[in-house]
Amino acid sequence: MLAAIGVSSVEELFRDIPAGVRFGRELDLEPPLSEQELTRHLGELAARNVDTSKELSFLGAGIYDHYVPAVVDTVLQRGELLTAYTPYQPEMSQGVLQAIFEYQTVICELTGMDVSNASGYDGTTVAADACYMAKHATGRTKVVVTEATSPQVRQVVKTYAPGFGLEIVEVPHRGGITDPDELRRAATDAACVIFQQPNFFGCLEPAPDLAAAANDAEAIAIAHVDPISLGVLEAPGAYGCGLAIGEGQSAGNYQSFAGPHYGFLAARSEFIRRMPGRIVGETLDAAGERGYVLTLQTREQHIRREKATSNITTNQTLLALAGLVHLSWLGPQGLRELGETCMSLAEYAKSGLMAAGLELVFPERATFKEFAVHTGRSARDATRAARERGVHPGYALGRDYEGLDDALLVAVTERRTPADIDRLVAALAS
């Protein structure tokens, strides 16, 4: 090969690199491992974690332990899908392109929107994307976010805000939900209003009233939603939202210490040319057969450069595919049953905890699969005591909210049985 190139050594291939910036020693890295040694080393690291198969977990706060059917793993192992990249060449990529088109359809069906992109990084970054869209769609620079929206989402939006030239205003919760009148006042001159349904506390917001409050101020109403809830909860498109966004993890993705997952972003058709990221569209080929291509690419960085609607390139297609497979496996009936099961189990947990003498933080509120409970002591102490009994009882709300140092956010998925919940009650009541 060197002879064909016309050089005498591999070293010579690097002759364009100035001597002053050549690396003069060997990389100080640990010696190479064979596959077998690698398996042992990473197996040891994995064993140092207490995963949810070792400890009964009621952790949620944005990442949920839903059941992932085997068919998801099976599809994701198909090398033709797994090891392809962005479908720039449609004739080589009809499999991925059609899957994305089906994913976009499923997201639009769930959210009641007209257009979905092919995925964003996660449920936080799609919120930042949505703010950028809203700024350019309205020419306004204020973003209103409810305090009952995930703290992770709010932190990411605040990090992006200076570069976007946005001012972020937070509206406090009142007893676990947002007051529509307070939101309406805050929404004056706002580009958009972001609220979460169910919200971070698991409470059901008066979502149609919140969307109306935003619309009254001609701000774009943006609902951050859980796909698993949308078999039982109304679609954001049905109550006046302009955009629907969310964390896709609960549909088809393992917890995986928070990633990789996918964020979804869907909008009414009027925003289609402001969408960030890849979008797949239907077309015909030279023989008149139906096919799929990346479309509306003049929005995107590789064509539009500094005038693009976003810089996103690599996205989360594989994780979105997992979502498509999971939701196809469930079907509409399964999705509704899954929502009802989570909600019913959460109600069972609330009743059990109350019967054991614990108080709910927001007892007046309807919830979905998550709720806040007072532990009667610091959440840290309550967690420590429960973990001694093999139960991780929930997320300490005092991390993010003042005055809730004794409160835990308890998440109940279909993977928790009534007997598991009885163990939670016993662990927190002790």
């Binding site: 992006y160 570069g163 690599t314």
Partner: protein, 499 residues
């Protein structure tokens, strides 16, 4: 083939859920879903067959050679997939107590240390979810750094090269900076004279890929770094092409202050049809205080998440980043160790070998040794035979290869950007070269076969203009619009595909 919705049968489903003996809870009436979402209704065998059929209509690295320039489409060791699925990783919740996530934090800390060594810099954050998010994070760090020095208003401009990936200028705009573009000189380096005209006290920094998207190492990199540092500006290294220089030349030693590393390129992720990726950033110590929170730190023998970083820009993604990506890339790096240098050497050897086989048949705009990739031009084919880079790309499909990146970088007309990576055998490179040479001959002798290509894929050439015009971006069920079935005149934009 049919869409999954067109295979749907009312009442059918993939699987059953557990039924628990607890009272049924109901959503308050005013919040209840009124119309069910029209999700597919299929039994599991039909679901498996549907997605298997989709996979047969797709081409991945597992199918064959995929020299998509600037995307570093290397083979993905299967052990990495197995390791990411270990229950201790797969089923771990990010809000577990610190004692319960020691293995995960140790893996992240070890990966940070490895990336720091490869970069020649001082501190790392794994949080950004992709290269372009790493870019944006890097620009946010610049903003925070200059604000801390009282220079936020003064420094409003970022300089990028005219060869840059589109993400660079897009990130500049999203970060709230003005953009200035520096030209490329006749040897494919940054035009230093032009650069000197652009850099001044208003400059916040430079974003540069080195080796560039032309596959060329910038011969003036030391002078470039000096020009920026003299005015107090910073240098950002777009790590898209790091696969060329691991253990050979480090961005920190070149003078860069901030680097993002595309884990899915250099350190092997399966790319997934478009993602996931990972875009960790590595910085010089003066920028460490501004890195995203939480930081993964080591205290004695324990690992912990440090949220107490008062100067931090904040968070750019949820929790601590795409952990499963970290598992795969850490495993990949550990399988090489210091031999990462050989990885890069082989990538560069493969690229130069392929270039040597092709240089007579296609135009070579910059006649230098390549690094890990090279850019040819189909300009002569276009002028003499009316055959474009797009036609060459489509015809390659008939020979069983994924096309290279085309129409990028923008400074090369009819560009063909070819990156073979180190995981391809010489025989594969020879076969690809034979196909490229055959296509060059076909352009002269039988150009129609190129214009009509591909001939052997599940679909013929597709009409992108029709797709954009009609904007059918979801299935419409009973109201699905009809595009007809008349043969289309397939109009594809002669615009960037790849990178």
């Amino acid at each position: 083939m049919k869409l999954i919705f067109e295979k749907s049968q009312p009442g059918r489903r993939g699987g059953e859920l557990p039924r628990y003996d607890v009272p049924l809870a109901k959503v308050p009436a005013e919040l209840q879903r009124q119309v069910p979402p029209r999700l597919p209704e299929l039994a599991e065998p039909e679901i498996v067959r549907h997605f298997t059929e989709l996979s047969t209509r797709n081409f991945g690295i597992d199918t064959g050679f995929y020299p998509l320039g600037s995307c570093t489409m290397k083979y993905n060791p299967r052990v990495n997939e197995r390791l990411a699925m270990l229950p201790g990783f797969r089923d771990l919740h990010p809000c577990q107590d610190e004692d319960a996530i020691q293995g995960a934090l140790e893996l992240m800390w070890r990966l940070q240390e490895e990336l720091i060594e490869v970069s020649g810099l001082d501190a790392c954050s794994l949080q950004p979810a992709a290269g372009s998010q790493g870019e944006l994070t890097g620009l946010m760090l610049m903003r925070a750094y200059f604000a801390d020095r009282g220079e936020a208003d003064q420094r409003d401009t970022i300089i990028t090269a005219d060869t840059a990936h589109g993400t660079n200028p897009a990130s500049v705009t999203m970060a709230g900076y003005k953009l200035a573009k520096v030209e490329t000189d006749a040897r494919g380096n940054v035009d230093v004279a032009n650069l000197r005209e652009l850099v001044n006290e208003r400059t916040a920094g430079l974003m540069l890929t080195n080796p560039s998207t032309l596959g060329l190492f910038d011969e003036h990199i030391e002078e470039i770094a000096q020009i920026f540092h003299e005015v107090g500006a910073l240098l950002y290294y777009d790590g898209a092409n790091l696969n060329a220089v691991c253990g050979i030349s480090r961005p920190g030693d070149m003078g860069f202050d901030i680097v993002h590393i595309n884990l899915h390129k250099t350190f092997s992720q399966p790319h997934g049809g478009g993602g996931p990726g990972g875009g960790p950033i590595v910085v010089r110590d003066n920028l460490e205080p501004f890195l995203p929170v939480p930081a993964v730190v080591k205290d004695g023998e324990r690992f912990r998440l440090d949220h107490d970083r008062p100067k931090s820009i904040g968070k750019v993604r949820g929790f601590t980043g795409p952990f499963g990506v970290f598992v795969r890339s850490y495993a990949y790096m550990r399988s090489y160790g210091p031999r990462l240098r050989e990885m890069s050497e082989t990538a560069v050897l493969n690229a130069n070998y392929l270039l040597a086989l092709l240089r007579e048949a296609y135009d070579l705009p910059y006649d230098r040794l390549a690094m890990h990739e090279f850019v040819l031009s189909a300009r002569s084919l276009k002028r003499e035979h009316g055959i474009s880079a797009l036609d060459v790309a489509k015809r390659l499909m008939d020979y069983g290869f994924h096309p290279p990146t085309i129409y990028f970088p923008l400074v090369v007309p009819e560009a063909l950007m070819i990156e073979p990576t180190e995981t391809e055998a010489k025989e594969t490179l020879d076969e690809f070269a034979d196909a490229m040479l055959a296509i060059a001959r076909e352009a002269k002798e039988n150009p129609e076969v190129l214009r009509d290509a591909p001939h052997g894929r599940p679909v013929r050439r597709l009409d992108e203009v029709l797709a954009a015009k009609r904007a059918i971006v979801k299935y419409g069920f009973e109201e699905h619009p009809d595009l007809g079935n008349e043969p289309a005149t397939p109009r594809q934009l002669e615009a960037q595909k790849g990178a």
